[in-house]
Amino acid sequence: MALAQLYLSMFLAFFKIGLFGFGGGYAMLPLIQQEVVFDNKWITVSEFTDIVAISQTTPGPISFNSATFIGYKATNTSGHGTLASILGAAICTFAVSLPSFGIMTLVVTFFFKFKENRYVLAALYGIKPAVIGLIAAAGIMLINGFNFIDYKSWLIFSVVFLASIKRIDPILLIAIAGLAGFILY
């Protein structure tokens, strides 16, 4: 694909992610996955899961992290050099932040009107329960043959799930799971 065309479609995809990414973090995952894995096929499901893992262990919001990661990776895999790939990462990161920029600038300007606007409040009542569903969808979309290869995967899943409910630090849990993978596979 021509480079300019790839940049344009990445810009549009991440702009959309920024614009409809309500609920932050995990709630944005189904949207990101839909755009970059299913629709545009820039990365595979396993690579997407790896990005989520990397995001959980590095600073910064998941949407920035995936924008930077995918922008680089997609440009690189389509046969372009390091510099072009870095520019791709910059374009995606810029595109995902742009909607927030416009919306929050409006919010500052009309702060109190926004806070008490009945239509804004009513819209938020609708979004809140949907966001919980989107997070569950993010989990469901990642249960597949690429991430769960055998019974050992389910064993790791169950242990981490219970430990996380007991509020054990996620970074520690990922480190332990990585060690378990190294020993078991």
Binding site: G24, P59, A122, Y125, A136, L173, I176, G178
Partner: protein, 198 residues
């Protein structure tokens, strides 16, 4: 001509720029040292912006938070844009955004460059085979607690379940869900409730 230029760069510019760089630095530090995304950053932003710099009052910060988290986009970025803009207008919010974005941009860029080299390495692959199911567990685990915080009751619990199945299994775009949720929220609270109450 030269003196005008000199005047512009030497006296006026540095003093003004100092405030912008101060905004940049505050958010750069927060961006660099908070792991695990948005919500982990909020206490740090509050202590820097409200307690130390006194750019916002306590109540103003809480009010801003309520709005920042209901708007699309990461809450850390939304907060940075709000604070930057309050402090120094649109230019201030450009500096605060760059501050919060750059640390993760640089970290991930370095990681992805290394990652694309070592992805086929068998050790890396077996480590990630262990990590992938753990990631899925970490997504599911906080759901129950979040459901309680979002005031989900037995009357509304069908909404997240329906959304999870429609998006997760049928792969309907979340964009459709968000637009529907906004429309139904407004319809229900502004129109249907009024008719019922009449």
């Amino acid at each position: 001509m030269q003196s005008a230029f000199f005047h512009f760069t030497s006296t006026k510019q540095p003093r003004n720029m100092k405030k912008y760089w101060e905004i940049f630095l505050v958010f750069f530090k927060i961006g660099a040292f908070t792991f695990g995304g948005g919500y982990a950053m909020l206490p740090l932003i509050q202590s820097a912006v409200v307690d130390k710099k006194k750019w916002l009052g306590d109540k103003e910060f809480i009010d801003m938070l309520a709005i920042a988290q209901s708007m699309p986009g990461p809450i850390a970025l939304n907060t940075a844009i709000f604070v930057g803009n309050k402090r120094k207008g649109v230019k201030g919010s450009i500096f605060s955004s760059l501050g919060i974005i750059l640390p993760s941009f640089i970290t991930i860029l370095l990681l992805v460059i290394v990652f694309t080299q070592f992805r086929d390495n068998t050790v890396v692959e077996s480590v990630f085979k262990g990590i992938r199911p753990a990631v899925v567990a970490l997504i599911f685990a906080p759901l129950l607690r979040m459901g309680k915080n979002a005031d989900i009751t037995w009357n509304t619990i069908w909404i997240p379940i329906a959304v999870a199945l429609i998006v997760g299994l049928l792969h309907i775009s979340p964009v459709v869900i968000i637009i529907l949720a906004i429309t139904l929220g407004i319809l229900y609270h502004r129109i249907i409730k009024k008719i019922i109450n009449r």
